[in-house]
Subunit: 339 residues, 2 copies
DNA sequence: GATGCCAGTGTTATCGTCAACATTACCACG
DNA sequence: CGTGGTAATGTTGACGATAACACTGGCATC
C-alpha cells in the first residue's frame, strides 16, 4: 500500500515539530546547527522523502510535467521525448507521456486528466489546430508550450522550426541538381505542418522553370505507396520525390523499390524528419532534419520558466533545421553530363 | 498559476455539501435523482475535474504509474512504453517515463522521486540486478513489477520472455541450415539478459558438432564493429553471427557491409529484439523478437492488479518469443548443394 | 403505534505539508 | 532598565478530497 515515513515521523525522532523539519528540508527559515544536525540524521535514518503530493496540495507545485504527442513510437517524438525527459530530470521534474494518435478528443481527455492531476505544465504537439486544448489550458491557467507545430496567433509559447524554409531548402537543393519535375507527398490539407512545408516547397519554385505536383491525403506508409504509383505513371515522370514526413519517406522508398525504381539512379527521394541514425542499417536518406532532442529540451526550459513566473507575452523559439545530405538524392537520370 | 474549480464550488452551485458531490462523482453512496442531476449540471457548467492530488492524499491512490527503462530511444523500449501507456490509459492511469541509461544510481534516484510523488506502482526494466531498487520498493511497500529481465528469487512479480529458449531456437535454426562455426556477440558478463541468451545459445550446441565463439564486452553499435572484425579474422571463419540485442545487430550489419561481406551470401546474421518494421527501408533482419508491446500491456495489468489487492506471492508471466525469419540468414556459403 | 431499517444527506476529522502567525529568549541600544 | 529587534522554535489552519460517522424522515413489520 506504499507507506513512507512522514515529516511527523522525522520530527518525532528528532524531538522537534514538523515545521522545523520542513524548515530544514526547504531552507525556509532559521534553524540552529544542533537541531539541523539532529533533523538531518533522522531524515537519513528513516529514509524520509517529502511527499510531493501533499506538498503539491499546499504549494500548488508538483514538479511534474506532461508531454502530449501523437505517437511516442514515431522516432521523431521518441527523440523529442528523450530531450524532454533529460531536461526535466536535470531540474528534478518528472514527465508523464501521453499518446493521442492525432485525435483531438484524446488531446482534450488527457488535458483534463492532467489538469486534475495537477501537473505544473504541459508540452503539447498539437493534433490539428488544438483550439479546444488551447482554450482549456487558458481557462485553467495551465502553463502550456506548443512544440513543433505552428499555431497562428497562439497565446501560448511555442518551440518550432522554420519548416517552410526547410522545405524550401530541400527544393532548392533539388533544383540545383537539375530536377525540373518534382512530386511532393503531403498529408491531408489542414495539418499545419504539412501545409507549411507544401507552401515552402512551392515558394522555391517561383521564378524557376520547374514544376511540382502535390499529392495530398497521404497519412501513412501505405498511402504513400499509392502516391508513388500515381507519380510513376505521370508523363512527364517526376525525377524526384519529396516526402514531407518520415513515415511517408519510408513508404515512398519501399514503394519505389517494389516497382523496381532505383534510388537515386532512376529517381531521387528527399524526406522530412530524420530517422535515428543508430537504428539504420545504412544511413541513406537525404532529409531535412529537425533537432528533435533540442526541441524537447528547449520546450522544457521555456515551460519551467513560464511556470515560475506566469507572465507575460508568449515566447517563440525557432530552432535551425538542417539539410542532411546523404545518398538518396542525385542528379536527374537523363541530365546529360554537359560540358 | 493553474486554477481549477474545487468540489466546494460545485457543491455551492448545486446547493449541497461537498460530500454529496463526492458521492455523485465516485458513485460511493446513494444520491437522489434530483440532486444527482443538479450536481452533474454544476460539474458540467464549471468544468469541474476532481483533483487527483488531493484525492491521492486522502485515498493513497494517485492513478499514476511509472515506467523506468534504460533508454526510451531504444525501439524495444519505445514499443514497450507505448504498450504501457495504452494499457494505463485504458484504465484511466497516467504514466511517468524515466530513463536511467543503465545506471543503478539513477534507478534509485528515480525510485525515490517516484515514491515521493506517490505513484501507485512502478514498472521497472532493471539495470543490472536492481538489488537496491528492489529493496527500496519492498521497504516502501511500493508495488513493483519487473519487466523483460529475469531476476533470480525476486519477491516481485515479473513479465518476461524465455529468452534462453529464444536464443536456443535461433541457434537451432542456424544449425539446421548447416552452420557449424557461429560467432555470438554479447554484452558484458553480468547483464542477466545477455547471460541468459548466451547460455541458451550454447545449450543448442550440445550434442552437435558445431562450435561457437562468444565475444563479450560489446555494448553498442561501435563495439559491435570490433567484434565483427575479430570474427572475420578467425580461422575457420564463422559462417554466421548471432548478435544478442538490436543495437549490436545493427552494428554488426554495418561493420559487415563496411568490410565488403555480403549478408547472407558471405555470412549470415541473426539478431535479438526486432526493429520497428514501419521504420525500416526494407525488413531484412532475421531476429528473435520479443513482444514488446504486449509485455508493456501485461506489465500494467499485473501491476494494477497488485495495487488493488496488495497480496500474495509474486506472479511470473512468460510471454512467447517469435523467430521472425527474413532475409539476413541463409545457408553457409560453401555448403555445396548436395543431392 | 413503537421498532427498525435504509435511502438520502450532512458533519467532522484526516491525509502530509507548509504559510502565517504566535511565542520565547536573548541581545543591543538609548 | 525599559524598549525593540531578531533568531529559533512552536501552534493553527488550510490546500481538496474523502472515510467514518451522525442525523433525518419515510416505510415496512409485528
Amino acid at each position: 500500500m506504499h507507506v513512507r515515513p512522514t515529516i511527523r515521523d522525522v520530527a518525532a525522532k528528532a524531538g522537534v515539530t514538523d515545521m522545523t523539519v520542513s524548515r530544514v528540508v526547504n531552507r525556509s527559515g532559521p534553524v540552529s546547527d544542533a537541531v539541523r544536525a539532529r533533523v538531518e540524521r533522522a531524515i537519513e535514518e528513516l529514509g524520509y522523502v517529502p511527499s510531493r503530493i501533499a506538498r503539491g496540495l499546499r504549494s500548488r507545485r508538483t514538479h511534474t510535467l506532461a508531454l502530449i504527442v501523437s505517437d511516442i513510437t514515431n522516432p521523431f517524438f521518441t527523440t523529442l521525448a528523450r530531450g524532454v525527459e533529460d531536461a526535466a530530470s536535470d531540474r528534478e521534474h518528472l514527465v508523464m507521456v501521453c499518446n493521442t494518435d492525432e485525435s483531438e478528443e484524446e488531446e482534450i481527455r488527457y488535458l483534463e486528466m492532467l489538469s486534475g492531476q495537477n501537473v505544473d505544465g504541459v508540452l503539447l504537439v498539437p493534433a490539428k489546430g488544438a483550439e479546444q486544448a488551447r482554450a482549456l489550458a487558458k481557462r485553467r491557467q495551465l502553463p502550456l508550450v506548443i512544440l513543433e507545430r505552428r499555431i497562428p496567433e497562439s497565446e501560448h509559447s511555442i518551440v518550432h522550426c522554420d519548416t517552410r524554409a526547410g522545405a524550401r531548402s530541400m527544393m532548392q537543393y533539388l533544383l540545383g541538381l537539375g530536377h525540373r519535375e518534382i512530386a511532393i507527398l503531403a498529408s491531408p490539407i489542414g495539418i499545419a505542418t504539412s501545409d507549411d512545408r507544401v507552401q515552402g516547397a512551392l515558394e522555391a519554385l517561383e521564378g524557376s522553370d520547374a514544376n511540382a505536383t502535390v499529392f495530398h491525403e497521404l497519412l501513412s506508409r501505405d498511402t504513400a505507396a499509392k502516391g508513388v504509383e500515381r507519380c510513376l505513371g505521370m508523363v512527364p515522370r517526376p525525377t524526384a520525390i519529396f516526402a514531407l514526413n518520415n513515415l511517408l519517406t519510408i513508404g515512398a522508398l519501399r514503394a519505389l523499390r517494389m516497382h523496381g525504381a532505383r534510388v537515386p539512379e532512376d529517381i531521387s527521394l528527399g524526406g522530412f524528419d530524420d530517422l535515428p541514425e543508430p537504428l539504420l542499417e545504412r544511413p541513406f536518406l537525404t532529409v531535412v532534419a529537425q533537432p528533435a532532442y533540442e526541441m524537447g529540451r528547449a520546450g522544457v526550459e521555456l515551460l519551467i520558466a513560464e511556470i515560475s513566473k506566469p507572465t507575460s507575452a508568449p515566447t517563440e523559439i525557432v530552432l535551425p533545421l538542417e539539410l542532411v545530405i546523404r545518398g538518396s538524392i542525385g542528379p536527374p537520370p537523363n541530365s546529360a553530363p554537359e560540358g
